[in-house]
Symmetry: C2
């Protein structure tokens, strides 16, 4: 029997609720399809930080290294500054395991209306390919001077290797998925060094893919176009920061960011990839059992896909989409219902077992 | 008679069409209200660059310095790299004249539908206050290494003085406008030095305004919230880059970025302020006489307001809003009509003269 060892890190806030809910669905899919998912749980979170001064143990990354994948909930909670919690857990995993691709679908699910007038399923269906390991997210820089004279420097680092590999991934993905059109997010009119370089590499790599159409927009107007004409996008590639913004805005136009998944991929498979929803730990609703588990379940489907379990991945998505349009389904409050995290996941699980 | 000397820089592309159109409206308002706008034209553009190697003459800034305001169209055109054209004209004006506030209304105009389902006038009505002189827009940095080993460094510089003054402007503006709620755009979970500093200053300055509510969101989720719940915003303050993105996205949710204005303000009035639409030079439609002049006209109204001509400013806006709902008005193609730039401006002018 095929076995996969998965490191699960529920993390903070609603991560602790949606991860078990999603695992219930994934485990059912595995049982039905004849393979085994072995989850090993790592209870690393802002609580860990408050107790030990560290988000994870010193050998944390080594403990994850031998798993087939990492299944993460959410990181960050009031009481621990965000740059401490994220640079102590999520970001080191992305970097150490060279998960340089952050892949995020922007797609309307059935039964969830877009906030955009006149846009239905099919109108909103594209992918954001985000650079996930360098760029604007950087710990290089610091403060100098005091009081009125204080100056803060923040450096962004773009390497040719890091830039080329994400652009190449985007073009390969566009080719592979049959959506032969890549749009680049730039801001070369304002950011004097980084983005002209990004544009240069986009042109150079694009030239290697004559069968894939390429265009680019400054990120400001691109954000506006996500709202005005989402149907024109297929694959959108952006730097770490631009990809981050665009891949939250994307879910925004699909009705709720609670449903959006993401895959942090090490395409070469030298290291485990990591799967997590786009949403955060949502302190405002944490502990109530009402968080929407869809983003976590969908992330789980992307994980199965990455593990090579293509059929089971499709089964999970079919169960999710079927459950979403069932008349009696108890949706979570963010989708206008009064259901619970566990109840909704249970319904997806039952639907799946019946398919 | 009150006289104002205005430096007009139509710039590139549709800037050359919308600036004269807007001037026709503003001049009519001045005539009707008994003051004089003296426009002096500066023909600086990418054409200038292609001829002379510079976007403006060496003493360009000095030639602008003694005007009461600068009225700008758009800068940038294919054939000149964007970072060359913008750092050669627009950005030096903003910096040299300490126009550290970029103020942009996000407001639905009558007769223009939001692309957001269920959002009507009143639901979308807030202001973006953008830092306009430092931060992520920086020429500091460069490239090192060659070929596969190339590395590009881009520095962002945040000064305490620059950060405090924009935050203070935002809180003052919120107080003055009676919309006592400021939302800060941050990304302190990813950007390790700059944004924790920004948050710290936001908290410190906010404490000086106990009568103004303050909250903050990471820019990714904030972008999604612009789409999901625009009605909850009043004054949104952001860094140069975040403010740029949010103030294009804002107009995106109001139906078209063609109508959005901006004011580049030197609040101390030591230097001229500059007024320009949010849209760019739109090479794709330049030269056809069909560009929408609303953003430029609205920018002109903000200029009159800044000059202290409050009534005339309101008159221009009333004329614009009245014209927009007149049944026989010939709207420009971006608004679904078949009118021309000059024709639409003429209609606004006639409406104004009849008010
Ligand atoms: C043209 C560009 C440099 C400019 C900016 O980013 O500031 C524009 O997008 C704006 O918003 O005024
Ligand atoms: C939590 C934060 C550091 C993270 C990011 O910006 O990468 C999140 O927003 C995401 O998109 O995964």
């Amino acid at each position: 029997m095929r076995r996969y060892s998965i490191a699960s890190i529920p993390g903070d806030g609603i991560g602790r609720e949606v991860v078990p809910a999603a695992i219930a669905v994934l485990t059912a899919a595995a049982a039905k399809c004849g393979f085994v998912l072995e989850f090993r749980h790592f209870d690393w979170s802002c609580q860990t930080y408050l107790k030990t001064g560290k988000m994870m143990p010193d050998d944390g990354l080594d403990r994850l290294r031998d798993h087939d994948a990492v299944f993460l909930g959410a990181v960050g909670f009031p009481g621990v500054p965000d740059h401490i919690s994220l640079w102590g857990l999520l970001l080191p995993i992305r970097r150490e395991f060279e998960q340089y691709v952050n892949l995020r679908p922007v797609r309307l699910l059935p039964g969830i209306a877009s906030p955009l007038r006149d846009k239905a399923r099919g109108d909103i269906d594209f992918w954001v390919v985000r650079e996930n390991s360098e760029g604007e997210y950087s710990q290089i820089g610091g403060r100098t001077g005091t009081g009125e004279n204080e100056i803060v420097v923040q450096q962004a680092i773009f390497t040719r290797r890091g830039t080329d590999r994400i652009l190449r991934y985007a073009f390969d993905f566009a080719r592979r998925s049959g959506r032969r059109h890549v749009t680049s997010a730039t801001k070369s009119n304002g950011l004097y060094h980084s983005m002209p370089f990004w544009d240069e590499r986009f042109a150079a790599i694009g030239a290697e893919y004559p069968d894939v159409a390429a265009d680019q927009y400054h990120v400001d107007i691109l954000a506006a176009r996500f709202v005005m004409s989402p149907e024109r996008f297929n694959v959108v590639v952006g730097s770490n920061l631009f990809g981050d913004i665009l891949s939250d805005l994307g879910p925004g136009i699909t009705g709720t960011i609670a449903v959006a998944p993401s895959a942090n991929l090490n395409p070469e498979r030298r290291f485990p990839s990591m799967f997590e929803p786009v949403h955060g730990s949502a302190p405002d609703i944490a502990g109530q059992g009402i968080a929407n588990p869809i983003g976590q379940i969908w992330s789980g489907a992307m994980m199965l896909e990455h593990l090579g379990e293509t059929e089971p991945a499709a089964l999970v998505m079919r169960a999710l989409e079927t459950a979403l349009i069932a008349p009696d389904i108890a949706r979570t409050p963010d989708l206008g219902g009064n259901g619970t995290t566990a109840g909704f996941a249970q319904a997806v699980r039952n639907t799946l077992l019946g398919l």
